[in-house]
């Protein structure tokens, strides 16, 4: 006779199993540990067609693994169709392993497409499942994310509503997907290496971050979080002014043989990517910042794109190393890092580094005149929640968890400060007094970090 504790434990376990295995007669649940058996079971029972959504995690991918080879074998049988949509983080990552998988699929008769997470609209709340298979015309197999892969439940369902949801998700993914042949020819987007560098920069920031204009006491909280927040499109970067930068940088360097470009203050390599992309004639780009972390990120990126870059760990207001004069100076939302009374010094420093006729391309945040509708604390909380929410979609591809990213985001939002320099008239006045002619100005509403925000976009020529 067992002890009451064992009796209770047995009852509890039996109850747990009966629930986990499903009490719905139209549903069967498999634990993730039985995933290979599930593959076999479905491969044997499927009659004519299987469509699968497969998350593709390049560092852990083996094209010859059983769960891939068994479907190639099925696809080679007459009258049996297999279609797969691979979900990848970015277009330009691990192209070799992706190509190998796609080549094997094509040879076996599998029709495959690829979809990139960066290309899925952020308003789509659906998380990428661990897997979704539509089997013949009546059954759906799916494993929703939300837990780790090892604990995932794989459900086989013949309920019409589950099937319809699966079909709908498949169609949506298909509409966002690309034909691999076309996709491989498309250029890599400027932001693409983020998923690779974010963990790296986060790691080095602990060592390299000392201080900058944002926080003289140490900026690890800023630079360590920055790339995650960029990946999630939560922070102000050149991407929010993409067309403006590409057009104005190109216009500023137009006609110059070897234009000399300087980036004054940057959080990572984003501005470098734009300068490099918009000025093909540039041979070397200088980057100046007080902190070593963004400079490290710029060197990492420059190496990937084969761009010559020189970095200067210096304060713009006391620079001695930057090798002026330059044809072009670029920076994004840099001026508001300074107090209003320092604006004139910054403008003078820019003017001092530019050639006559050289151009400054930048954006300045314009603060609203009335109080915000949402309290600051509530906006910071929202920011953390949005970070966590968006990070879930990237979970398979990042080392840090959505929860950790949420913590980084909250700290960033609570500490980041953008100085109110006054209205656009004040800023224009400062630039004109500093020896600039305003060639282009535009007020633009951007999503903003904590609140919707207005920016003044400027292209100014040194007179």
């Amino acid at each position: 006779m067992s002890s009451p504790m064992l009796e209770t434990a047995r009852v509890t376990l039996r109850d747990f199993r009966s629930r986990r295995d499903s009490v719905d007669p139209a549903v069967v649940n498999f634990p993730a540990s039985a995933l290979l058996e599930l593959h076999r079971s479905v491969a044997v029972a499927a009659q004519s067609r299987v469509r699968q959504v497969v998350p593709f995690d390049p560092p852990n991918w083996d094209p010859d693994a059983f769960e891939h080879s068994i479907w190639r074998e099925s696809a080679s049988a007459a009258g049996f169709e297999v279609e797969r949509i691979y979900v990848l983080p970015h277009r330009g990552i691990s192209r070799e392993v992706v190509s190998r998988q796609l080549d094997l699929d094509t040879a076996a008769g599998i029709q495959a497409r690829v979809v990139f997470i960066g290309g899925i609209p952020e308003t789509n709340q659906a998380e990428i499942p661990e897997g979704l298979w539509l089997v013949d015309e009546d059954v759906v197999v799916l494993s929703r994310s939300g837990v780790g892969k090892e604990d995932a439940i794989w459900t086989i369902s013949e309920r019409a509503v589950d099937r319809a949801q699966g079909e709908s998700f498949w169609e949506q993914l298909w509409s966002w997907s690309e034909d691999p042949a076309t996709s491989s020819r498309l250029p890599v987007e400027l932001e693409e290496p983020l998923v690779l560098s974010a963990d790296l920069v986060h790691g080095v920031s602990d060592v390299l971050c000392t201080s900058d204009h944002v926080d003289r006491g140490g900026c690890g909280w800023y630079h360590g979080a920055w790339q995650y927040l960029r990946l999630l499109n939560l922070v102000s970067t050149p991407t929010w002014h993409s067309e403006f930068y590409l057009e104005q940088i190109a216009a500023a360097s137009n006609g110059k043989q070897e234009p000399r470009a300087l980036i004054t203050g940057t959080a990572d390599y984003s501005m470098l990517a734009y300068v490099s992309a918009a000025t093909p004639a540039v041979t070397s780009i200088d980057v100046l910042d007080m902190c070593a972390t963004p400079l490290f990120a710029c060197r990492w990126f420059a190496k990937r794109i084969d761009q010559q870059v020189d970095t200067f760990e210096e304060d713009l207001l006391a620079t001695s190393a930057a090798q002026g004069p330059y044809d072009l100076i670029c920076c994004d939302a840099f001026l508001t890092r300074f107090e209003p009374q320092e604006t004139v010094k910054v403008v003078r420093a820019w003017a001092g580094l530019l050639e006559p006729g050289g151009v400054l391309v930048t954006t300045v945040r314009i603060h609203p005149r009335s109080a915000r509708v949402r309290e600051f604390d509530s906006a910071v909380r929202d920011f953390r929640e949005r970070a966590e929410q968006r990070a879930r979609r990237w979970r398979p591809f990042l080392k840090v968890s959505p929860g950790e990213i949420g913590v980084l985001a909250e700290y960033y939002a609570g500490r980041m400060k953008s100085n109110d320099l006054g209205g656009e008239d004040f800023i224009q006045d400062q630039l004109i007094r500093g020896g600039f002619h305003i060639q282009f100005e535009e007020l633009a509403e951007v999503p903003g970090e904590l609140y919707p925000t207005t920016y003044l976009r400027l292209a100014c020529k040194k007179t």
Binding site: V11, D15, R144, T155, R159, R369, E441, E442
Partner: protein, 1049 residues
Amino acid sequence: MDSGGEKQWEFFLLKNLKIVHRGQELKPLTGRWKRELLTLLLLNPGTHDRATVAGRIWPGDGDSEALRKLRQTLKDLNDELGKGFGDVVVASRTQIGVLEDVSVWVDVHSIKELIEKADVEAAVGLTEAELMPEISSEWIDTARVRHQAALVSQLEHLATQAELRDDLDVARRFTARWVDLCPDVETPRRELVRRLAKAEELAGASAAATDLLALLRDIGLQPSEETRAVLASLHQVPEAEPKPLAVSRDALLVRLGAGDERIAIQAAQALALAALTCSEGTRCLPVTAAADVDANEPCLRIGTVAGRQREVRISLPMVRDLLADPDRFLISVLCQLFDLSEDNLETASSLVARIRELPTPRETKGTVVSTERVSEAIGRLQAGADVAMIGPSAAGKTVAAEQIVQQLTGAGWTVSWVDLSDPAVGAIDLLVSLAVAEEGPAASHLIVLDDLQANPGVAIQIGNLLTEVSPAFSSRLGVVLLGWDSARQLASEVCPGAVTIPCSGEDLLRPVLEGLGGSEVEDAVLSQVRRLSAGDLLVANEAFQHYLRSGEIPSLRQIASATFEELTGGEPLSAEATRLAFILAALGQFEIDAARAFAEAQSQSALEELVARRIVRPVGPFVAVGHRSHAALIVLHLRAGQPDLMDSLGSPVRLSLDYLRLAGDGQIVAMLQRLDLASATRRESDQHGSTFLARSWESIQILRNYLRQQVQRDATWGDNVASAIHAAQTFSRFDEESWGTTARFVRSRWLIDASRLPGPHGRSSRERDDFTAIKEKMDEEDAVKKAENAPVEMPANSIDFDRVHRTWVLGQLLGFEASAPGRSSPRLEDLVAVAEHVQEPAGNFYPSRVPWVTARVVLGLVAAGHTANSSRSVQEACQWLRRPYPEGPYKAGAWEGGTGTWNSTVETTAMCLSALVRAGIPLDDPAIRAGKAYLLSQRAAWVQPGAEVDAANALEAYILTGGRWREVSAELMHLLSWARHKEPWTRTSHLASESQAQSSAVALVANSLVGILWATVKAELPILLEGIATEREAPVEPAMSLSAKDDPV
């Protein structure tokens, strides 16, 4: 009473227990337990588990003590009734019962035969006898309800039979008794009125009708169609004398009430003519009123409507009733002329003022813009179809409709234009417009319903109205509906079969500009205007006019300044008026019309100035600055020109939020309905969540429509009160009419009595089948436990599932009655009293094995306004819920269902958490914190197929315990996707025993989602409005490179 047969044992349970053995009445049985046991067994023939029987009679005792008492009582019973009684009661070691045997007769089981054989007096007496009044126990309540249901059914049958054989007195007697048994039900009361009237007992009928109407008023229901018909037929009257009397109204009223009907009807005619006349002496409806005294029943004849020969006859009692209030008379005449029920019309007194001010035909602008869509619409209308022109705000729909009107009036059509953005406009305006319209040469009348989305309720009323009145017209009625993308579904409801013509400002841009300029517009100009206006035709119009004047494309600020200049005529406004204009425009850009009282409170003189200068227009009880784009331009101008205004008053978003907080939920709903959120739902970026919120609002609308459609198909949800009540919770927020329909079903299906658990009227409603399925699952659980030698507390076979069902329904009914618009307090108070009465000493509600029943009752009590702080009952129930196992149900961080695999621990934990939090238990209570952590740990299970009810409960509990919507947005969207699929809605009438799932799942999930989403939308209004403002407040200004450099134009 006569048992009517030769039986060895006869038992009389009505009134008091009487036992007759072989024709001889025995001495009254002594001892409460003996009487109770005997009654229980007699009422439930067949054998039963001893534990079950003991549990019913001694519920407060432990199993062994109860069984001991049962043994003793049975022995006492045998001893007192003698050895022959052993043939009646059979007992084994585990079983006990009374066999259905020819030798035993029980009066309750033969009630039908007894009543049929008795004379009327005796039969009525039988229905008045209470079943074993001396017993006070839960199980006897169930038996009494069953008995009462049998009586009701019998009385209904007997009354019908008597009426068929023209025995109206007997029919009336049985019906009156039927009313006694079902005092809160409409049908018996209506039948009583009808039968009294049929028996020509008019005074009685009238009194009964008054009672019936009072009842319906109390319970917040409108009379059914059948009841209306019965009430209407009551008012038949004899003769009266013609000739109007030229005397004062007071004197006429005296004569109207006179016993001499001829005088009264003359007075009626004079009063009617006065009521139909405007203050200027003109007739406000084109009708005449004539007194007809020659007819058998003198009456007032009202007729004829222009071009349409219609006449209504109003009897004297009705006239008396109506003419006491001339305004009501006017509306009634209008309704009767068109065979309308007044339900289709608003009843505000302001209506009459509008009837008396005949609507002026809408002026159309002179510009002729012929576009493809205008031509298509005209073609469709001329071919006999109706048209819905759908597109975003300021896309030129109204301009297009004006063109249609202009061209069709030229072709001999007449027109009615109803602007639904005016909150004072109702179906009555259309009626009046139709009533006065002369028939044109084309014999066709065009009805334009503008801004459909602004007032869906009135739009639907008008749709119904058109269906009703069309046959009364010799002219053909053609309809043009104008509405935003979000109103597409509404358009199809208002006018099924209308041809949809999509509209966009882009399409109309070139023809409008060319219409303004009189010549072809250059592509470069068109392109700049397009960029500036972003599809807003109003802005495009202003921009192009500026271009025509100055040769330059203006900036948005210049357009705003020009608009303001035009409004004010160049004369500056006073500082107070400027301030108020900013506030009203700030609200207006979010489609919020400000209450006039609010504007007056800001500054009455400023409001008068703005109204006098036509910058603001009064719209019923509201004031508005006009089109939303127009309002946005005013804000833009004042922001730029007077930045101090915004510093002192706050941003438009802040002003709107402050106003909405004052105005309440109704105004928020009105604003959301009027805002075109359809375009917001299609955005791909969603930095702060406004797209999610717009989609949430869209989902609320969709789910509400699903629920409403289900109610239209079958308001009983296949006789499932649980589903109906879940749906009613949603209707109470957004759809009073559907709530009323649901209430009619729920209130007629379950009887409420302050002294006992609610009981079904007749057989149990079909969600009772869930409890049969629950018993099976409990049996399985018990078997597993027995096999493992684990203890089984409160075995399934000891539980009274009728009582479980009724206790659970008690919780549901509490929530339902609390959701009543205006709350029907007597019913609610009765239910609260029942809850307090049936609560068990430990604080739980029956049965303790199933804690979600207690949670359900607590949720009901909380909905009724009671909390752990204000109600001892709620406090004790919450204490019990939090009490650790084995004294209470709280088991190491979670609550188990106690129902086998029927309810998961996730679902039960979620329900208990919701009950505790809503009851006011602090969020840092250890049980609540642990329960929330348990729910989160099971999050992956929420989205498993088949776990939709778990998900809905878990999401609700998670948000209630301080969780945030963003954290569970993926799960919310997943559940929404399920609820919006048609398949679950096809199973609304499935029995649990067939589907092995909760029969009310889809209604529960839909209501739960609506609740969560509505709370989210309300809480996050700042984000939603910020998102909308971002699109409109600061559009990209034209770049300096275009505006200041060489002019490309």
